[in-house]
Amino acid sequence: MKPDLESLIEAYLDGSITASQMQQLNALLLINAEARREFAEILNVDSALAAMAADWTQEQAVPQIIRPVSRPARWLTSPPWVAAAASIALFLLGGWWWQDSQRGFARVEKAAGITNLREGASLRSESVQLAAGTVSLISARGARIIIEAPAEFRFESAQRLHMKRGRLSADVPPAAKGFTVITPSGDAVDLGTRFGVDVPSRGAAEVHVFQGEVIAKANGAPAKQSLRTGDAVMFDTGANTSRELRSAAFIQADEMRELTAGLAAGQRVQSDAALAELKRDPALIALMDFESDESLPGVFRNVQGRWPGSHAPEFVNIGDHLKLDVGSEHDWPQLTLAAWVRIDRLGAPYQSLLHTDGWSKNNPGQVHWMINRDTTMRLALIGNTLAPEANERDGHPDSLIPVLPEQGRWVHLATVYDSQAKTVRFYLNGQFDKETRLAIAYPARLGSAQIGNWDRQDRKLSGRVDELLLLGRAMSDPEIRALHAAGNPYR
């Protein structure tokens, strides 16, 4: 006999259902979406009746004996006036219902430097292109997704996001477990909680798990791979290749808030004004803001800098570097070096900020500026020696405070060298950190140099460099403070 859904539901609700009926009901509900809908709606009425009864007062409850009618109740089937009354009653409900049914797969929470997405706007399956900026989205299931330009993406549903390119970080609550990012080279399925996906314009996508678990599957790969906290892979033609975690390469919620506030406060205008001022400084050797169209020599990715639509070289792979050749016309008794950098991770023993190529004993004054493994900053000039009282572990002037923030952040690094005063001064985010005194101090020599690497395995910087300044004079503490304040993207 064909199981009758209605009688099965009745037995289930009575508590009189038998084991074999329960099996039938389960089987029916499993395969038949229409049956599930019927089931859910009847139980929905049941819970609405219970909610109504809970508010029912004793006065309303009628104590006398009542006989329920046995004929079909006509009051419920009389269509015209019931429907009319219903329309009126429900018109009042209509407002929010309409809004709710129009709700998209995600809504724009914050938009920093984005012109084509409004805060509060709702996204459905339309394709979105972001030329510049960063956007924070909340999916209908509560996942927070932050996407950095240049990017192109579209939602297939609240749980499925297609990323053609761009960089995304996702924070997925239990309700959105299973949230999936689909890239041209593979898929990432989140099992909770935080992960990043980088889809570069050229090359394979990468998945980085900050916390929790993600299932990654490269297109054409025979098996899925479970990634845990701290794991990262690249979707390499049909296989997952292990990568090193670069969690700081991704913009997450805290930073998004500060970036949005910084933009709103007009930081970018300040920064542009300060740059224009610097370019007029007679002692300027070079100011690289990476905004010119001419391509710079080297191997690196061109990604977004501190500002929406601005550019910065990013060093990801072994051997990535950027070349420059400035300041070889004469020696520099005083030198200020400053840069905005975003370090993705601690990797190589040294991460190069600026390494001159002519470093050799016969060429005193050649400059090496880098980040040490313990995340302090170093300024070494070949031939220089420390003053007797200088307290340095490694024989070179090193800064005191670690320059690597716990989370992804742009930091401002600066060092001021004065061969006449025989001092090296370090600054982090505009704040004076430490001074090292020298015994022998050669004037600085520049010339051909590399940023982000130095022809060696152990010097690769992992991250981005924005606005690199080389100035042939010693900047004062207030000047460095102002330089940081003007270029700070955060608030």
Partner: protein, 178 residues
């Protein structure tokens, strides 16, 4: 409690109170009896508060709570529902997912109940409300109405069915009108 904790608690209570009926209805659709739903709801409210730290401001509280509720229902079924006749996990997962997506319509149906109840003659309305009282004993209510328990259940089913028909008709009418 520190001022920050008090503030957090207030925020939680505001959200929870606003969405409690929807969460309860969601749970009710997944467990066999109303009393089971009450049981699980107590667990859920505790878990929601414990996990409120992980809930991001501005996110959809209801969607978050539905997700938590589903896990709690499954845990409850594995635990106390073992020797009962209950829905399979797979069925629960499907219904939970579908009704989460359908919640706006389901909520509208629940709200339309009041309208349809007005059309029920007073004596029958009272009887329904007696049967749905939190502590009601169906046997007594059935006896009071002069029916057998089986006959009374039959009547309850018919009423639910008629009310659902009325609700669906009313909503269809509304959709056409808008």
């Amino acid at each position: 409690m520190s001022p920050a904790e008090t503030e957090r608690h207030h925020r939680f209570l505001r959200s929870f109170t606003a969405h409690e009926p929807a969460i309860r209805a969601h749970v009710r659709r997944l467990v066999p009896a109303r009393a089971d739903a009450d049981d699980v709801m107590q667990e859920i409210s505790v878990v929601l508060w414990e996990k409120f730290d992980s809930f991001r401001d501005g996110a959809d509280f209801r969607a978050w709570a539905f997700g938590v509720a589903r896990f709690e229902v499954l845990a409850w079924l594995r635990d106390r529902g073992r020797d009962r006749l209950v829905l399979d996990e797979e069925v629960i997962t499907k219904i939970a997912e579908e009704t989460t997506a359908e919640e706006p319509r389901l909520q509208r149906q629940r709200e339309a109940l009041e309208h349809c109840m007005k059309k029920v003659p007073a004596d029958q309305r009272d009887l329904l409300m007696q049967a749905y009282q939190p502590e009601s004993r169906i046997q007594e209510v059935a006896q009071g109405s002069g029916r057998t328990v089986a006959g009374f259940y039959q009547w309850l089913h018919r009423m639910r069915k008629l009310l659902l028909d009325c609700i669906r008709r009313a909503l269809t009418q509304e959709e056409v009108a808008s």
